[in-house]
């Protein structure tokens, strides 16, 4: 596989480590009401789509950036690669 790194261009997947669903960015607030339930869902429940999937990859043997890769689980086609930091900010994780 090749991941087209948004800053570095196409790189072999061997340079990356896979983590999983990009919903891991959406960590609940510990002081929210029902935080325990939210953390349970955050920690244990994942969608398993046959098709487009947003997932986290870490460029460990590269620039150490976390990426959000949109990959089709049926074809392995990668349609989008973003810096996870940008995605996190867009999802309101700025403090």
């Amino acid at each position: 596989m090749i991941i087209n790194h948004p800053l570095l261009g196409p790189r072999d997947a061997a340079e990356f480590i896979y983590l999983g669903d990009a919903s891991l960015i959406d960590r609940p607030d510990w002081q929210d009401e029902g935080a325990d339930e939210k953390f349970y869902e955050y920690g244990y429940l994942r969608d398993n789509p046959a098709g487009e999937h947003q997932e986290l990859w870490y460029h460990e043997q590269g620039d150490r950036s976390w990426l959000v890769v949109t990959r089709n689980t049926l074809t392995h086609e990668i349609s989008k690669v973003e810096l996870a930091r940008d995605v996190a900010r867009a999802r309101g994780r700025s403090k």
Partner: protein, 189 residues
Amino acid sequence: MLDFKLVSAPPLAGYDQSFEGVTLRAPADLAIVSLALPLGGEAAAEKSVKTAYGAALPGIGKSALSKDGSARLVRLSPDAAFVIFTHATPDAEPHVAKKIKGAAYTTDQTDVWTGLEIAGPRARTALERICPIDLHPDSFDVGDAARTTMEHLGTLIIRTDEDTFLLMSGSSSAKSFLHAVETSIQNTA
């Protein structure tokens, strides 16, 4: 007080070998200091680096020589860069911190890495066996830099000249790294 002077012995110190069409050597006194650009202070840090080195911090995946040619600035990611230069004493980090007036967070990386310079017309042929990065002269310009993995070892590769590459890998695995590069040269001889 013990009368004992510590002896500096980097893992590949003094290594220098010639093969047909390739030379391989460990550059002496290679010092590396990392720069981390403070969040919100990136512009100030870049300005300070430019003032200190007479060269702008290059784009990601590129390197640039300082105006006097004594230091190479390598941009690794949006907020991280290396300054690579020749410096014998173990005070590279304060040296750089002073030079850039503390405008970036600095960490001494000198002893984290081991450097090998591979040069010559057959350098690319040898590196083909371990380097997944495309080193074709049109794809990897002089000054280009990439972090990747070679024989399971994280490696920073910088094209420093027409047929010359500086390879940097972890100092604890220096012997395995040297073996990987030497084997590649021998296998392609």
